[in-house]
Amino acid sequence: MFLLKVKQMLAVISVGLFMFGSSTVSAEYGLNLPRGVTPISQEAYDLHMLIFWICVVIAIVVFGAMFYSMLNHRKSKGAVASQFHESTAVEIVWTVVPFIILIGMAIPATKALVAMEDTSNSDITIKVTGYQWKWGYDYIDDGVSFLSTLSTPKEQIFGTEEKGENYLLEVDNPLVIPVNKKVRLLVTASDVIHAWWVPELGMKKDAIPGFVNEMWLKIDTEGTYRGQCAELCGKDHGFMPIVVVAKNDADYQTWLTEQQSASDADVEAAEKQWSKSDLMARGEKAYNTTCAACHQANGEGIPGAFPGIKGSAVSTGPMDAHLDMVLNGKAGTAMAAFGSQLNDIDIAAVITYERNSWGNDTGDLIQPSEVKAAR
């Protein structure tokens, strides 16, 4: 125990040395892996420190010998070169000793790996889906599902507003899970490969379209944990963070009930007739979270990469083709099939918004019930 404390102190001191004498060494810089709040992250941290210190010791021995030699065996000091070379005994020693050290590393690493890959006996299963550029979460047993999108305002990104504390690490709808429960995540993607990673939860898994990967978490402390997509997934790879909120069981149940009634309300609302102004208002919001990353907030797209919607043939042409494009996407392009991401209300709202904005004045509107019928 004492040894561990000393090791941690040494770690702080040694990394501090690289801070160029800065007097404000504080936790917020982050120099090392966080120890984290799950058994996996803690095991990974301990292994990381173990290997780090082994490397430091080897480095001191090897570099120490080099520097000793460079200082003392130099011609300017009158050193005369001895001509020794080849020694089978020495060669065997420096092959066998590293091999033994490696075995010493492999044993704890194997144990940790076996534990990490054991997703059996989980309490809750949540499906995580990566999209360009957001995350979707489905609570498979509880019928709750939602999308989680970056909530940092554009003004902060482009520097016209001061950046907040959680700049680029904040979302509209965080993933909420209970503490001290084994949560199994099923990780997949709908378009390109993403990777789900929260450093303090200690595990990273690729989200691969057409395949389902598994990982598990068991968080021991309530709190908010932030991470990011870790696999290059296109233009906004840097703008699809992950936020996990760990709650105690009672709070979690309350949250779950709220979510369920909200989604029930949506199902009900999808049946009624919507007014154009309601659709436009909801459509603007949905457009900005879902479509604007490519087609831009002004509907003009990015020439050569993403087509504009303003004045386009699809958004001013027949409604059926427009609906088909949004529901089913366009094969071979970045245009995803949003039928699997958005509910009927949002799809109706987005289409209505697109057909009546930026000078597109078709006057059309489409009801959620028509979207439902077209699915």
Binding site: A109, K205, F211, L232, H237, G332
Partner: protein
Amino acid sequence: MSTATTHDEHHHGPDKGIMRWVFTTNHKDIGTLYLLFALLMFFVGGSMAMVIRLELFQPGLQFVNPQFFNSMTTMHALIMIFGAVMPAFVGLANWLIPIMLGAPDMALPRMNNWSFWILPFAFTMLLSTLFMDGGAPAGGWTMYPPLVLQTGDAFPFLIFSIHLMGISSIMGAINVIVTIVNMRAPGMTLMKMPLFVWTWLITAYLLIAVMPVLAGAVTMLLTDRFFDTSFFNAAGGGDPVMFQHIFWFFGHPEVYILILPAFGIVSQIIPTFARKPLFGYSSMVYATASIAFLSFIVWAHHMFTVGMPLTGELFFMYATMLIAVPTGVKVFNWVSTMWKGSMTFETPMLFAIGFVIMFSIGGFSGLMLAIAPVDFQYHDTYFVVAHFHYVLVTGAIFAIMAAAYYWLPKWTGNMYNESVGKWHFWLSTISVNVLFFPQHFLGLAGMPRRIPDYSVQFTEFNQISSIGGFVFGLSQLLMVYIVVSSIRGGEKATDRVWEGATGLEFEQLPSPPPYHTFETAPVIK
């Protein structure tokens, strides 16, 4: 036809003007072309790195948009790997292998001309994508589908330029192997060859083994995009992860293609300046061969997070850890060679020692990355970026610099300016550590790779890193000065150049060597 005299005259010197370089089949000319091309590409790729470091100097988006940023990281990697490091090593091979083995030229001189002249076309094609609709490739140099299939008009140009680079490399590798196997002077047995030649022989076999694999992988991408195949499309029954397996089956040996010749260079330089033979010649040869063998069975450590079965992860973790053994043998050998030597520290020696120390740092972080359960944390973060830049910049590129300083006086006949050389070394070494060391901290603290913008707690280290980057970039202009000025003139180099130099090129040839050397095979004692 007895026009011996006129023919002789014609054979003794190079042609005049530009056509000398276009039609040359002379290994020295082609070596020079390769090296100058690599230097040019080093600056093209380097300027892209400057764009990256400029955008990352502070959080927020200031200079470039995210799509262009991704193009920069993608193109920077492709150009540095295929345009700078690989051609530099092939250039060194061309210049040095014949004069180290006592051969009159490379075995296949016309093919040699062709393998060089493909490259300018390949890279013109690749660079032209910067001006195309949809921009240059932005899916990363690893070209993972499905993302890479979203590339705009640049896509087929990316694929074809990689095909061309591959063809060039394969032809270069064939030439190296045929030369080494067939054209050694009598008495130059395999186990007498300089280590640079040995490492290149092994590298050439790696190239022939894996470049066709890359060609296959990118061709499958091409047919997936244009001919409705589904190799990597799950919806059509394919598997996107299969691309990663194929790519890294090429990619890991490729990493050693980029470092084995560097091992060879350093093994030539350290004994010279320690005035002492290499500690274990044969164990160096065997260690190189072991590393080459292991490079074929560790590829999946680049993809521990794709969701492999536990047994697969264990296998690749153990195999990867094993690489530390032969690599350790090499480092221990270099240290033992220095031990009780009589060292002087001219610029080539400084770069070689810098190589040993900083490559070892990259080796340590490599060992850490091999541990799969912790790699789940390190993977795709700046920790990985720091690791591979330590092995590729302070590893491969420092070795190339060392080689340039070491053999430049032999090639040009003129000594370079030693104090400029020392300035170049110290500026590079300090700035490269300011550039890459903080990236370890960024990665551990949670900054992913390949992002154009980052959250505010990463600001300080990114700024330090960027400043290091700018200084490192500027320092490389000294290299250009060194090369240009020593081609133009300067203090004449002796034939041996360095007091402790050994090998045919230093013992039997003048500085600079004549256009044709060893037309009669030398006698090897």
